[in-house]
């Protein structure tokens, strides 16, 4: 395997007596779509929040492109090229779609702490924002306030905001949760389109989707890694079947 872009070693997070994530060591290769699955309470979202810098590790370490980022703040991790989406759509409700991606794009230029010229003057931000809005297929809704979008569109917008920051690694927490069949198809198509040159870490419940787009799958149970492998290997693994898939109706 190529040098991993993101890597955890013995990553642990305790809440009191409970180890939500317990000694997880994983390596995410550049360009791969790596799904993390597991039953409820397996620690998937906790793991993702730690990778994004939102939750401090109790012990263990996180390396991003070889650099120790275990104690970095979320904004610093983001600036190092890690994008993040949340379990429920997390956008700026009162802002228009265009302003949402605009803000995201603005985070990547040094001009954010500037006070004098109107924001529209910063053409590079506009270009990036427009590109991201096209990529998430919301260009025709650019004047719509984000809160007036359908839930599926909000998820698209969230991915657009993430793309506007031009990340190398995308951390996606259940991007399909709460979506209808057609909306889910839209978002899956979107993920297929953005995966080029990027590493996707995907926490997802929708097995069909996971097996369709993931290159590799890690199964978590009670905060520990049960198994990592290709979708085919995972599907056939007796341990996984017992711990997880067997419980699925």
């Amino acid at each position: 395997m190529a040098e991993p872009v993101l890597e955890t070693r013995g990553l642990t997070r305790r809440f009191g007596a409970l180890a939500a994530v317990d000694g997880v060591s994983l390596a995410f290769a550049p360009g791969e779509v790596h799904a993390v699955i597991g039953p409820n309470g397996a620690g998937k979202s906790t793991l993702l929040a730690m990778l994004a810098g939102e939750l401090r590790a109790t012990s263990g370490s996180i390396r991003l492109a070889g650099r120790d980022v275990t104690r970095f703040s979320p904004d610093r991790i983001s600036r190092l090229g890690v994008g993040r989406s949340y379990q429920t759509a997390n956008v700026f409700g009162e802002l228009t779609c265009r302003d949402c991606v605009w803000l995201a794009a603005q985070s990547r230029v040094r001009s954010s702490m500037s006070f004098f010229w109107p924001a529209e003057r910063y053409a590079e931000v506009g270009v990036r924002a427009a590109r991201a809005l096209n990529a998430c297929r919301l260009a025709d809704r650019h004047t719509t306030p984000a809160r007036e979008l359908s839930y599926g569109e909000q998820r698209q917008l969230e991915i657009g905001m993430m793309l506007a920051t031009e990340p190398r690694v995308l951390l996606l927490d259940e991007p399909l949760a709460g979506l209808g069949h057609d909306e889910a198809k839209q978002v899956i198509a979107l993920l297929q389109a953005v995966r080029a040159d990027r590493t996707l870490v995907l926490v997802e419940h929708d097995m069909e989707a996971v097996f369709a787009i993931a290159d590799r799958v890690t199964v978590l149970a009670s905060g520990r890694v049960l198994e990592t492998g290709t979708p085919g290997q995972i599907r056939l693994s007796p341990r996984v079947r017992e711990a997880y898939l067997g419980n699925e109706p």
Binding site: D75, F92, M113
Partner: protein, 305 residues
């Protein structure tokens, strides 16, 4: 566009009394314009960054007391010196208080800013040489060549210029990338962080800008009245200002200014009608906040749309 015309007309109308020389109106409207500056600066925090601060009177007071000190102790009367010194002092105080209070969020942030305001209130009230609850006179008001700001029309004109500059400056800042970041923080701070914005830094910068402008209001107040006292520094003052911002409509800049003008009038004429005028103000504010959550500015916007 219509709003701009209205604001420009309002600004010109406020300039007129400078030529009338009527002492009462100069002082009355001068005070009202100072409150406009004060309220607009708080709106940057409350209405744009989503930071409800009760420390704002502290920066007003620090600057006002410092002007009195510079004048009385060091005989410094040149506003080209005293104004930057006072604004800088208010900004530094805002930097320190902001740096400490912004570690807390929500209601805890409000309480920490309240605690700082009260600390300063008792400092100004009890420190020897600061005149206790009577406060201090500013023996020599700012003076520059032929311009003597003890002269009311001159002070009034100075306040008018300060108000216009403050408004233009704040609108400029809010339209710039920095202003957009503040709105993003108000809307969803967690998301701003995960997009890569070091949000604490932006909040602190906003706090310092607002604190310096509150210092400008304090400086002008001490110049207009020629005295300072601890009541201007206390939490009551901060609370009243917060009410002004909510009454006028937060997040609009001009709304809090309208609120400031209106409250100054209600206070003045209410006082003539009854000694319980505060109750009138209270009832009015409650009615506005309940019936028009977006304040007077919301009413104007509704009428336009």
């Amino acid at each position: 566009m219509k709003l701009r015309v209205l604001l420009a007309a309002g600004a010109l109308a406020l300039l007129a009394p400078a030529f009338s020389g009527d002492r009462f109106w100069l002082q009355f409207l001068g005070k009202a314009m100072i409150t406009c500056i004060f309220a607009a600066s708080l709106d940057l925090l409350v209405g744009y960054a989503g930071l409800v601060s009760l420390a704002h009177a502290a920066f007003f007071g620090i600057s006002a007391y410092l002007l009195a000190g510079l004048s009385n102790q060091l005989a410094l009367v040149n506003p080209l010196l005293t104004l930057p010194i006072c604004l800088l002092a208010a900004a530094v105080a805002a930097l320190v208080i902001g740096w400490l209070s912004l570690r807390a969020t929500g209601v805890y942030f409000i309480m920490v800013t309240l605690a700082f305001t009260q600390m300063l209130y008792y400092f100004f009230n009890d420190a020897p040489g600061l005149g206790g609850s009577d406060g201090l006179y500013v023996n020599d008001r700012p003076r520059l060549g032929p311009l003597d700001f003890a002269d009311r029309p001159t002070a009034y004109a100075g306040i008018w210029i300060a108000l216009v500059v403050t408004y233009l400056l704040l609108t400029r800042v809010l339209r710039a990338p920095f202003g957009r970041v503040l709105v993003g923080i108000r809307s969803n701070e967690q998301r701003m962080r995960s997009l890569g914005f070091p949000t604490p830094r932006y909040k602190l910068v906003a706090f310092v800008i607002a604190g310096a402008l509150a210092g400008l209001a304090g400086y002008l107040d001490a110049t207009l009245y020629g005295f300072v006292n601890p009541a201007q520094v206390g939490w009551r003052q901060s609370g009243l200002l917060l009410m002004t911002v909510l009454l006028g409509g937060k997040g609009t800049l001009y709304g809090p200014m309208i609120g400031a003008l209106l409250l100054t009038f209600i206070e003045h004429y209410g006082e003539q009608v009854t000694t319980h005028w505060n109750a009138i103000v209270g009832a009015f504010v409650i009615a506005v906040v309940l019936l028009m959550p977006r304040g007077i500015a919301g009413l104007l916007r509704g009428a336009r749309g």
